[in-house]
Point group: C2
Chain length 432, copies 2
């Protein structure tokens, strides 16, 4: 397709929807991508670039000629430049900021200061404002010119003097009104707005509850700072759901498939260690009840600890893959990538938790070294196997087009219990 006629490639390519352009772009190898950059101008590449995942953007920007890269960034909407730069190492983002137009870079620096997850961080500054005394006809003429750069023209914001927001009117209302009516008389003056520090989930709730397509962000004095559009919100909503899912499986911040193994290990270990301490409590209680300890033997007190830990790691990897499947992000390629990360994570977590439980086992079992080794090895091996079970069981069910409803956290926890008990018994029967 690409070897031949350049002009023809361009005309064919730009007939495609941006999404298909991206699919096409993703299929290219490095030399073909370099050819692609020659054929496509930075302003045409910007919309494609802006839709790539953050991790891909980082790779692509490095292989671009610097001039081309800067031009591409220039053509991104402000909020996406902010997103992109906030993912880069500090020295790189500083460099790009220095190369930019001063006014633009100042605006971006202001944005970068807003905390992730607040309205300030997701708002855009490309919108259309009008004066209260302009007529519908004048506004339409203005939209014809400004409309190309604005992120949305479905709302027009009416501002006075000091950029103070006094009204809002939807494009829909503009269309149904006569051309000689002024903004003053058609605008809605009861404006729903948020502040830069408003939490993302509150923004989502407002946009959803009020069926808005965009929401203005204002200062205490009602000065318009930016707007949040519904497509930004859908992205944010996705993040929120990831968060909720992460919370449910004790791995907040590590649901996304692109998070590195290093971060994933850290994020997952923290709750596991905490849960390990909780899991010790039943053992300690049993130990402190001599009458009950008579009924069961020392070896039994470790059962809840080992099964509990195995269940937790299984649930963690389950949450990652279930969420990925439901977002439609799991295919063969991404599964292999995920599998590599999970193997590394499972191994690290198993070694660390195994070592900790060996020491605890040794201490609780009246300083019996053999018992410490048994508890440690059983924990390590069952954690590793159960992390893999949490990954493979749902993936296999999905591949076999089975109903995923039974593959729940408790289901994986129950399977993990079984695996952990078998491993523990095996060690005891062999070594004790």
């Amino acid at each position: 397709l690409k070897n031949g006629d350049n002009q023809r490639f361009r005309s064919d390519f730009f007939k495609l929807h941006t999404n298909n352009q991206i699919d096409f772009f993703n299929m290219l190898n490095e030399p073909n991508r370099q050819l692609f950059y020659h054929l496509v101008r930075p302003e045409e590449f910007a919309p494609i670039f802006s839709k790539l995942e953050a991790s891909e953007q980082k790779l692509i920007i490095e292989e671009l000629e610097e001039k081309y890269a800067l031009k591409t960034i220039e053509f991104l909407p402000t909020d996406e430049v902010v997103d992109f730069l906030s993912e880069l190492p500090k020295e790189m983002s500083d460099y790009y900021l220095e190369c930019m137009d001063v006014r633009e870079s100042e605006r971006i620096i202001v944005h970068l200061k807003y905390k992730q997850g607040t309205a300030g961080a997701i708002m855009t500054t490309e919108y259309v404002t009008v004066n209260p005394d302009e007529t519908v006809g004048e506004v339409f003429r203005r939209l014809k010119i400004q409309g190309k750069d604005a992120e949305t023209i479905y709302y027009v914001y009416v501002v006075e003097g000091d950029n103070r927001l006094v009204g809002v009117i939807s494009l829909r209302e503009l269309v149904v009104n006569d051309t000689d009516i002024t903004m003053q008389s058609v605008m809605k003056d009861q404006i729903i707005s948020v502040r830069t520090y408003t939490q993302q989930e509150v923004v989502i709730k407002i946009i959803k509850d009020y069926d808005l397509l965009a929401l203005p962000v204002v200062t205490l004095e009602n000065q318009l700072l930016g707007i949040i559009t519904i497509d930004d919100i859908i992205d944010a909503y996705n993040e929120e759901t990831d968060e909720d899912f992460g919370k449910m499986a004790a791995i907040s911040g590590a649901i996304d498939l692109n998070v590195s193994a290093h971060s994933v290990i850290k994020i997952r270990l923290r709750p596991l260690i905490f849960l390990f301490v909780l899991g010790l409590i039943p053992a300690v209680i049993i130990l402190s009840m001599p009458k009950f300890l008579e009924q069961i033997a020392l070896t039994a007190i470790f059962i809840p600890l080992i099964t509990g830990m195995a269940g937790n790691t299984g649930t963690q990897s389950l949450a990652v893959i279930l969420r990925g499947l439901s977002k439609g992000k799991i295919n063969k390629e991404s599964f292999v990538k995920l599998l590599k990360r999970e193997l590394l994570t499972a191994a690290s977590v198993a070694v660390i938790c195994g070592a900790v439980s060996a020491i605890i086992g040794y201490a609780l079992a009246e300083k019996n070294i053999l018992m410490g080794m048994i508890v440690g090895s059983s924990t390590a091996i069952s954690l590793f196997i159960c992390t893999m079970a949490g990954l493979f069981i749902p993936y296999a069910a999905y591949k076999m087009k089975m109903n995923l409803a039974i593959i729940s956290g408790p289901f994986i926890a129950a399977i993990s219990d079984i695996i952990a008990v078998i491993i523990y018994i095996a060690f005891i029967c062999i070594l004790l």
Copy 2:
């Protein structure tokens, strides 16, 4: 406020945003609502009615005069009538269908046939279509008239002859183009569309990936049947997330706070019984390994079973309240309502699972009646307490504005383990 001037109430009330109107309406008691219906016309009540929860709609429709009720339904958009009727008992929805305009009711019957969760079930038929040879100016004049009834005017669909979809143009593109250009030349002819049977999650993914505000639903012959707008999708997306959350905690379909206790009990018991069988496996394995059974006593084999069950019920109630909190739906009032439902659910589940495990305990413990009683009672009591713990711990953390991140499924499972072990020990020490 309401006793005085009716005219003044109306003018004040209609200045409010629909959402605040709903808040106001929800605060009214029955006699005040009757007064309200006298002051507000059905066509004005319809937008408020359409935003109520399905369970509230059912109650409200019964207290309306029949004529008023029918008028209200008439003024709802087709997709919302469908939603509403599909929630009613068959004889009631049939009755309303008979009272309606024949053409409208035929359209609704077609809709009701589409399976829940498919594009057909969420699409709307109120949209604007134009001919390929109309000019931008003509389309604007047409929007001025038709725009009021359409669910969205942000896309205009270009159809030929037999309602065959040949193009689509956004209002944004209409605005930036000159008034004498024909649709033929500005419309996009590469149309992204779905079929009536397309799954909701696929629709969501397309709308999200392509940043659309609406998506057409067409037949195999490309005839336009309806459109799905982004606000319908946000509702659907919410349902999908509920589903995902439900799957994670093994309670698909019972996340919503409005589901009745009866259904919740059924939905939750099924996985619990299944998980109970899985939970038995470690016990059976231990029993079948005489060498290991020597190491631990008979009483120990029930520990994984009881702690596992307790953890599962805790996770189930946790998922319901975490999801409710994250949707911003939990306040004091709704918590009390939820609490009542959960008390009933917990009690029923505890009695049933307790009875089952008493029998199993009796059978596994060499037909020891006392052991059966201990296992049964421990299971029942710990299931009940752990369901409540899954509800109260996150609610208390939320009330005390604590970080909810540590309140995860595994955390509640670990707490449940502790509770269950204590209860089991207590029974054994007292009775054995």
